[in-house]
Symmetry: D3
Subunit: 177 residues, 6 copies
């Protein structure tokens, strides 16, 4: 299990490449991003449950914590790289190797995220985008420029099944800009 | 809720002071530490449940994600500062302010961690120490020196109620040294 | 005495938290701030003396060099932390420990600063604020944003007994904005 | 042509992932590595020519300058990633896109490097490995640890057709260890 | 020869002082700058040759790779320092020492650059200025401010003998501003 | 006077080149070094006075604060650069420009340091060397290597007129190694 925890530790060292390539100096790591995705998932998940949606918060949290683990092996490939590399396929293979045969259940959780095939998987995707837009705003507030394209994720958020529940939140974020 | 997510974002900026004061250059952030504590909690929690212990993994994950949130307000006070500042009291007050009156349930989770009064709270404490020792080893492996005192947390791990379940893991960590 | 010099060395490692929390990447250290406070004190002190004010420049310089030494133990607590922590009390206790019983005279100098009870103590406070506003401007000039609140220290400067002597300087700083 | 120069500029931002993942703090960029590969190629190439080998130094220098350009699009994939991603294929496609249809001649130079099919291509590969081992030694000399595997490239150097010409150089490097 | 390669390695560590003094955090190194100067020289040189100018591209590339090597000994003295230090003289002496008596030919290449006495030397000077302006623009695009003076190099570019060949490129750069 | 304070601010940005060139990542700035030189001067100066030596502590502190100010213009030229550049002459000219004609008294203080012609000037030189050796030790304690040559300053300390007063301190430092 120590090896597995060491793999997770690599995410502390990996810069989020999108920011780096747009000139953000010492940008956040994948681990930092993942932390806030899990944090957001926690509060959104509980809120959905309170509002009567059937959602497994434990599962959602696990997905959030694991959702970028494959990057321990393949690093955070920026969008422009994905034209040349089959990122999904690479991530899937990397997850299998990292988790090992005896932890198939976690691989399934990862797939729910990647293929957006369960409400929990989609919720983490929603949290992932929300986290990124919030981070873009925080960098801009501190003086960074040239991060326009990251705001496009707002469109994803607005089309999501969760938007009706978190309209206020998303709209507030949009107004910040 | 956006304010709450922004508070969590501060943990990305806060260096873990213990490493910084011992000369680790650009050490991990509080957010990075928290990420791996949650990661470890996930796997330890599931393992305990498999072995028949009654443990609420959802609760444990929430505690892990929240356990250092107060540092968004009071920063990561190093051990040497705690002689001069009542850190526990400060954290409790900060948590109340960050979470707001309407989120009392999360404050209770935080207390379970801080006072080690539930198995889930103690499990996160165990994961917190384990994460720190692993990080010390990773820094040492890369060339850092002067981190001896962080290894003392091994004693905590060995006295824990969870040690019998994770003896192999803890002993492997100890041997790495 | 080597221990004392090592304590001072910690100030090189400690980031000024106010900047860090507002997104300034790799902000100045407490030691860097202290250096310029002492530098400013030197020139303001000599100027005051030339203009006929009775001011002990040696004492003022010592106060400047020592004024943030307690942070070697309690770190640079940002303004938002001071709601939860009694910073003054903590600093006083830390100073006693750092200096040791045999150096009471330096503790008294620190108190003159903290309680603003001598002209020299107040001059260093004036230099401390001036340094901070100047640094805010330098960060802004280089592209940082979101540092508005630091400019509020201008009000302190304008109400100071030293303002009549350094009106030109303070007004020039204000116009830079 | 400005776009092309901007692509090259991305190499300044990209950390060499191998070092990063082994804990080197703020490691060299791809651009820094490329600079020294070109530098080494210059002196090795001229030396070979002096010793009577038929080598096109202009071509070798161009290959050196271009050899990692594809990373502007796909980043510096570490060795462990290459199990999951077809790096060669990705690089080839990225080079075509970066250079554009009108610069086929440079793509051919890149292929000579990648497939080691000309003496110039192989010389740059030799310089590339030499540079990496030298960098490993420089990091170790400054305190880094855990870089053993990078020294394995010495085997490549010793098997190379250029080894007889630069035996002294390679052996000196090996002795440094 | 290993010593020579180690000297080149120092350029990776040396920050470009002009950016640093204007508040760019962790600015590019001399090695990173040199890389892109060589890159630009490659494409401009080939283009000139295609257009019928007699230009020795091999020589130009060598000059580009070597043009800042003296900084391994004297560091990147910013413009403001050159009022107090005879940089040209210092660089010449440092180059002699770094290259050694047996490599006089390379010292001559350096002189062609420094005294702008061959087309190849002047081309690298042109590439050097172009690279700097492009970098200024890239920093500004990412949020940096206060870099106005670096744009003055555009005047140099426009007066150059190469401007008629690269008018479009230079004008495009100017319009970016 | 604001210009003068801005000049001092540049010392925050300037890395101490000796460490940088030996591979210390993000080494201390000139301002950080200056801070501790002033700190050390304070305590050594008072101690000397207590022991009956006639020493002007105010003057000593001023010299300490000003001793590296010229580097705001010429940067921190490492030892290896001083073979190619007349650092003393450059610093003197830079100091004249920074201070301006109306502040000749401070230039004289600087000269006392540089030419070691007053006890106060020599005390700051002593503190300057002591600070550097202590810093070398602190870097080594944290894992840095290759800093042997900095320890040679111990010889200077032992030959100093102040050594009999601070024998214990210097010897303790030497034993740390």
């Amino acid at each position: 299990m120590l090896n597995l925890f060491a793999e997770a530790g690599k995410l502390k060292k990996l810069p989020r490449m999108g920011w780096l390539l747009r000139g953000v100096q010492s940008p956040e790591s994948v681990a930092e991003h993942t932390f806030r995705v899990a944090f957001i998932t926690l509060f959104l998940g509980d809120e959905l449950r309170k509002r009567g949606m059937e959602i497994n918060v434990e599962k959602a949290l696990k997905i959030a914590i694991l959702h970028d683990l494959a990057e321990a092996r393949i690093t955070d490939l920026p969008l422009e790289a994905q034209k040349y590399v089959d990122k999904k396929k690479a991530e899937r293979k990397a997850m299998v190797d990292i988790l090992g045969a005896e932890r198939v259940e976690y691989f399934k959780l990862f797939q729910e995220y990647e293929e957006e095939k369960s409400p929990e998987g989609r919720l983490v995707k929603f949290a992932d985008k929300l986290e990124m837009v919030l981070q873009a705003w925080e960098y801009e507030k501190a003086g960074s420029k040239g991060l326009e394209e990251f705001w496009e994720a707002l469109e994803y958020l607005k089309k999501s099944e969760f938007y009706p529940y978190f309209k206020e939140l998303v709209d507030e974020l949009e107004r910040l800009r």
